[in-house]
């Protein structure tokens, strides 16, 4: 059974369409990424699935519930990490976890969760004394303390330094071992590649690609670059062997040198940027 099923989802704000009819399914136990630039509709989509916003159109089912009705039984089974939130600054890490644990009928052991998110040493530290990365782990801890089946992570590493991102990634991978379904939004391609089983690439409220990270951004074209009489030439080809053979044969016959000749596959970053930056037809 799918943990999340979305069909024809639409949402507008003041007449501007933020989400324009998207479809996707997330299997139970899967880590699914919504990837795209700022303003692509990632947060709007996630907040509809979390029950924060009402959709304008389409069908949505999350763990068998309609999140638009935001029933308590539904909220028992999800964990949410918002893009921005700062929990009570004067309470300790443990106190915040205990307060949240009290909201759920079957909470996990608080100390175990604190251990899991790597805050054991900060157990008795006040929230206001935590670093940005530690606050994010606190957010994750309180999202896990109710032992949810499905965890929403909205841009979990935005603003992190590289080391903190690596730590966060390891933590998110550990969620998979716990058997959680994870819906993750990010605008970092490498993050989606590192973490997600499948990714939907969003652009301007529409899904432009969906699939495994390796396939959807696998580039099929190869670039051949060289300079001819000072002018840079770039050829894009799906058939590089033949193209290169003909090019060099021609050059040899004419006795010209192909300066700075280079053959390379377009980087994933190039492909991704092309995907999200192209104007839709």
């Amino acid at each position: 059974m799918s943990a999340i099923s979305v069909t024809g989802l639409r949402k507008s704000y003041d007449g501007v369409e933020a989400v324009r009819g998207i479809d996707f399914e997330v299997e139970a136990g899967e880590v699914f990424g919504l990837l795209g630039p700022n303003g692509a509709g990632k947060t709007t989509t996630v907040e509809i699935l979390e029950g924060y916003r009402q959709r304008d159109g389409g069908e949505v089912s999350v763990l068998g519930f309609d999140p638009g009705r935001a029933e308590r039984a539904f909220r028992e089974r999800i964990g949410v990490v918002l893009q921005q939130s700062e929990l009570w600054p004067v309470l300790t890490v443990r106190e915040v976890h205990r307060i949240f644990a009290g909201y759920y009928s079957q909470p996990r052991d608080v100390d175990e969760v604190i251990e899991l998110v790597g805050l054991a040493e900060k157990r008795d530290a006040k929230v206001k004394t935590l670093s940005g990365g530690q606050k994010r782990r606190l957010d994750l801890g309180v999202a896990l303390v109710g032992d949810p089946e499905l965890v929403f992570l909205d841009e979990p590493t935005t603003g992190f330094d590289p080391a903190a991102r690596r730590n966060a990634w390891a933590l998110i991978r550990s969620l998979r071992q716990l058997g959680k379904t994870v819906l993750l939004t990010t605008h970092y391609l490498d993050e989606a590649q590192q973490l997600a089983d499948r990714v939907a690439v969003l652009r301007a409220g529409e899904i432009v690609r969906i699939g495994k990270p390796s396939e959807l951004i696998a580039s099929t074209t190869v670039q051949i670059r060289y300079r001819l009489r000072g002018e840079e030439v770039v050829l894009e080809t799906a058939d590089p062997t033949r193209e290169l053979h003909e090019l060099t044969a021609r050059a040899l016959r004419d006795g010209v040198e192909l300066e700075d000749l280079e053959v390379r596959r377009a980087s994933l970053e190039d492909v991704y940027l092309a995907l999200v930056e192209d104007e839709p037809e």
Binding site: Y52, V80, Q84, S85, I99
Partner: protein, 249 residues
């Protein structure tokens, strides 16, 4: 019910742990009382110690300061920092959450009033309340009604930077005009008219009735009506305008 007590404890914990709130909200009215009583607290008026009138006035101020001001500040800060939004995705029902916030507030108001009262009796020769049960009832009515105004204020103010200033602009002049800090007989007529409309004057009337004048609150139904009407208006505004999500982003 367990969830209710759990959240009430959490509310009390966050209140007392936050030193700024505890000092500004809880200690300020008693401190102001000590200050005023030290200067004006001697002598009698109509056979009653003047300090008794100051106790009544400062309790009125405490209700406005805590139930309206403190509550509005707390809620706006929590809304803008995303706590309220985060709580919405937990199984904690929103109505239950607000109920614990209001009850927590009420407990603080009652406790604070007793601190002012105790200081008055012990240090400045004020009388104990003439009608203790009705006196506590008046505090409860006041706290619940002013909490409605606090909710409305929180609902109408957009930013966490504006809220403390806005609250002071509401609470301090109202307290002054309503006689919380002393007699208003010498005020210009126009200011007295403003005070006649505001709820605090009537709350102080009710405190005086049950505390000093030994009159049943049944004799002051008009005052109860004004306080209740303001409270209800506050809850109506809050019902229509209160939001759980940050406004400033």
């Amino acid at each position: 019910m367990t969830l209710f007590w759990h959240q009430l404890r959490a509310e009390q914990l966050t209140f007392w742990r936050s030193r700024e709130a505890a000092i500004f909200v809880f200690l300020f009215p008693p401190l102001l009382f000590v200050l005023l009583a030290s200067v004006f607290g001697d002598g009698t008026e109509e056979g009653r110690p003047v300090s008794s009138y100051l106790v009544a006035g400062l309790i009125g101020y405490a209700v406005a300061n805590t139930a309206l001001g403190g509550l509005a500040i707390t809620l706006v800060l929590r809304r803008e920092s995303g706590i309220l939004k985060r709580l919405r995705s937990t199984p904690l029902p929103g109505g239950l959450y607000l109920a614990t916030v209001l009850l927590s507030n009420l407990l603080i108001v009652v406790l604070q009033s007793f601190v002012v009262l105790a200081l008055g009796v012990l240090l400045y020769g004020a009388d104990p309340p003439e009608r203790p049960a009705e006196f506590v009832l008046v505090l409860a009515i006041g706290a619940v009604a002013f909490a409605g105004l606090g909710l409305a204020t929180a609902a109408l103010i957009r930013s966490d930077e504006a809220v403390a200033a806005a609250v002071n602009v509401i609470v301090l002049p109202m307290s002054f005009l309503s006689g919380a800090f002393g007699s208003t007989e010498d005020l210009p007529a126009v200011l007295q008219v403003i005070a006649d409309v505001l709820p605090l004057k009537y709350l102080i009337e009710l405190v005086l009735a049950t505390y000093v004048d030994n009159e049943p609150i049944g004799d002051h139904l008009g005052a109860i009506a004004v306080v209740a009407a303001w409270g209800i208006a506050g809850y109506v505004v809050a019902w229509r305008r209160f939001g759980w999500e940050p406004r400033e982003r």
